[in-house]
């Protein structure tokens, strides 16, 4: 790829992965700030070697779980593992190969980009210093590395933040709202860099975001979080379809009544059929191959089929669905009571 973010990596290669197949695993993770419950029994499983989206509206608890995982704040209950190491018990070992940007990347503004990386390299250990120049090159900041950070744009600071992550030669990158402040071109480059890290280098990238489109385009799997709870998690396809396989069709027919009657009798093919703005919305029992049988069934009774279109479930649809469902659930009311 041509962009500097995706230039052929000169960062040290990732060694063979060890431990469990999960980069992050939490069970019942709970964090309270006074009476407010920020994380309410979070169970999270992030597979290694994937880009994982942590999706939720503002204030859902995304940053809090990142801060808790990284030991920036203590949990009140629950367990967590990062790269197979229990945290906070073996926090130092766990974070040795973790790079993280929490909220916006911050630096000493009166120091240059390179000097800021030297500070972190000194803290990480002597072997890290050799990674400074390759990391700067990787994010396309070699030419500006001698400039003071206070002269950097937000996008450049984001890049420098990623370079700082790369100093760890990370097996796991944790990025909190990483595209904030990036222009569309920068977002595209960033997305490609994430994919390259995952697909070519085998790293795991954990991205917290409230931008559905960004997660959908970048990630292999995701969890949707709201009000301190993980509502649902899985692959992007599973999430979009509601956690299970849900095949739906939009049908256009010339005789709606006859079609509904016919479909209601074809229970081996159709789970549900109802009127919709666009015609009939039909939920199939089996896999998409049954579409042909549904069509044939309708044609056999004399219904003319003018449209037959599989429904594509978007993450956005699913996101709104689960978060609005949560609004009405007793658990949410309990959370709201606590917050009140």
């Amino acid at each position: 790829m041509s962009s500097p973010l995706n230039a052929s990596t000169t960062v040290a290669p990732v060694p063979e992965r060890a431990g469990s197949g999960l980069a992050i695993e939490t069970t019942g993770l709970t964090k309270r700030f006074g009476a407010r419950t920020a994380l309410d029994g979070i169970d999270l499983r992030v597979p290694r070697g994937s880009a994982f989206g942590f999706l939720g509206p503002n204030g859902a608890g995304k940053t809090t779980i990142i801060r808790t995982l990284l030991g920036l704040t203590a949990a009140n209950a629950g367990t967590m593992e990062v790269l197979g190491y229990p945290v906070p018990l073996e926090r130092a070992q766990a974070l040795r190969r973790v790079g993280a940007i929490v909220e916006e990347p911050r630096f000493h503004p009166n120091m240059s980009g390179r000097e800021n990386l030297r500070i972190v390299a000194a803290v990480r250990g002597p072997e890290t210093r050799a990674r400074i120049e390759p990391a700067l090159a990787r994010v396309g900041l070699s030419d500006r590395a001698a400039n003071k950070v206070k002269s950097y744009s937000m996008g450049m600071r984001q890049r420098l933040g990623v370079a700082r992550c790369l100093l760890a030669d990370p097996l796991l990158l944790i990025l909190d709202e990483p595209t904030n402040g990036l222009d569309p071109g920068g977002i595209q480059e960033f997305r490609e860099m994430i994919r390259a890290m995952v697909e070519q280098e085998g790293r795991t990238v954990f991205i917290s975001s409230h931008l559905l489109d960004e997660v959908e385009k970048t990630c292999d799997a995701a969890a949707i979080v709201d009000r301190g709870k993980v509502i649902v998690q899985g692959s992007m396809a599973e999430l979009a379809q509601g956690g299970g396989v849900r095949n739906e069709l939009i049908l256009g027919v010339d005789n709606v009544e006859l079609a509904l009657t016919t479909l209601s009798r074809a229970s081996e093919l159709v789970r549900d059929a109802r009127r919709a703005d666009e015609g009939l919305r039909v939920e199939l029992v089996g896999d998409p191959r049954t579409v042909a049988e549904v069509n044939a069934t309708l044609v056999r009774v004399g219904v003319g089929v003018t449209r037959l279109e599989p429904v594509r479930h978007s993450l956005e649809q699913r996101f709104l669905e689960v978060t609005s469902r949560l609004d009405a659930s007793p658990a949410t009311e309990a959370v709201e009571e606590v917050e009140a």
Partner: protein, 279 residues
């Protein structure tokens, strides 16, 4: 998976790469770099350390040149003592120590990068304790520069006046290191505790300039005044620092104990806060 709360039986986590000495040296270098790059603080500290000395010698030299019969030469023993008072006893040396110590204690937090250092997995205690030698190094560099100026002025402008001997110069040097070093370390600990740069500077200057002399002058407090830091520092001074004669006569052991007490208490408080604060 482990419980979130660590247990006593858990082995300490393995260290990150590099020998501990190498890592400590690199961290010290990094903290020194941060101070060196904080130009605004550095310029003020330089001005506070050097300007009073330059002004003192300049004024006395002009006076002597204008009326040699009335005014003594600008150098000599009395100027050496005045220089020591400016750097060790009065505002300027302590102010340099406070500025540098507070910057070292709050620099990472105020720039918002403390969390980025914590997420490296490096122990928070290591992050705290690397600030101390870096601050001391910077503070002493400035103070020693000013002291060199005092000594040069003392001899260059001495005319026919008596000058300090080698032992006096060394005593003065040692006293300045103690006076500013202890205050600098206390400032690092206090600033790390309060995490507010303006708050720490105001509180420490108020203590140093207003509260300490005031409390020292309250006779009814008796020996309780011995725990005031300035009293213990004064014990090591080769000259009388306080024109108001509020200095108590502490024994060497008591003075040393008070200094160590201040260092231990503020280092412990700073380390505790750095270890436990939300980053």
């Amino acid at each position: 998976m482990s419980a979130v709360a660590p247990t006593a039986s858990t082995p300490s986590p393995p260290r990150q790469g590099g020998s501990s000495v190498t890592v400590a040296a690199q961290m010290l270098g990094a903290d020194f770099l941060k101070l060196r790059k904080k130009r605004s603080i550095l310029i003020w500290a330089l001005v506070l350390a050097l300007a009073p000395i330059v002004i003192m010698f300049a004024v006395e030299a002009i006076q002597h040149a204008s009326d040699p019969a009335k005014y003594e030469p600008a150098g000599g023993l009395h100027s050496f003592h005045d220089g020591l008072r400016l750097l060790g006893g009065l505002l300027f040396g302590p102010l340099v120590a406070i500025l540098i110590g507070v910057e070292a204690g709050t620099g990472d937090a105020s720039a918002g990068v403390f969390r980025d250092l914590v997420v490296t997995g490096r122990s928070r205690l290591a992050l705290f304790f690397s600030r101390v030698p870096a601050a001391l190094l910077m503070c002493w560099l400035l103070i020693v520069s000013a002291y060199v100026l005092v000594v040069i002025g003392t001899f260059v402008f001495a005319g026919g006046l008596a000058t300090p001997d080698g032992a006096e110069v060394l005593n003065g040097f040692g006293f300045l290191l103690i006076a500013t070093g202890v205050l600098c370390v206390v400032a690092v600990g206090f600033a790390s505790l309060v995490t507010s740069k303006p708050g720490a500077i105001i509180a420490l200057i108020a203590w140093q300039v207003v509260a300490s002399p005031l409390i020292s002058s309250i006779g009814s407090l008796g020996k309780a005044r011995e725990i005031i830091l300035n009293q213990a520092i004064s014990h090591f001074s080769p000259i009388t620092l306080d024109g108001h004669a509020t200095n108590l006569k502490l024994s060497g052991g008591t003075a040393l104990l008070v200094l160590v007490g201040w260092l231990v208490v503020f280092l412990a408080l700073g380390a505790w806060r750095t270890s436990t604060m939300d980053a």
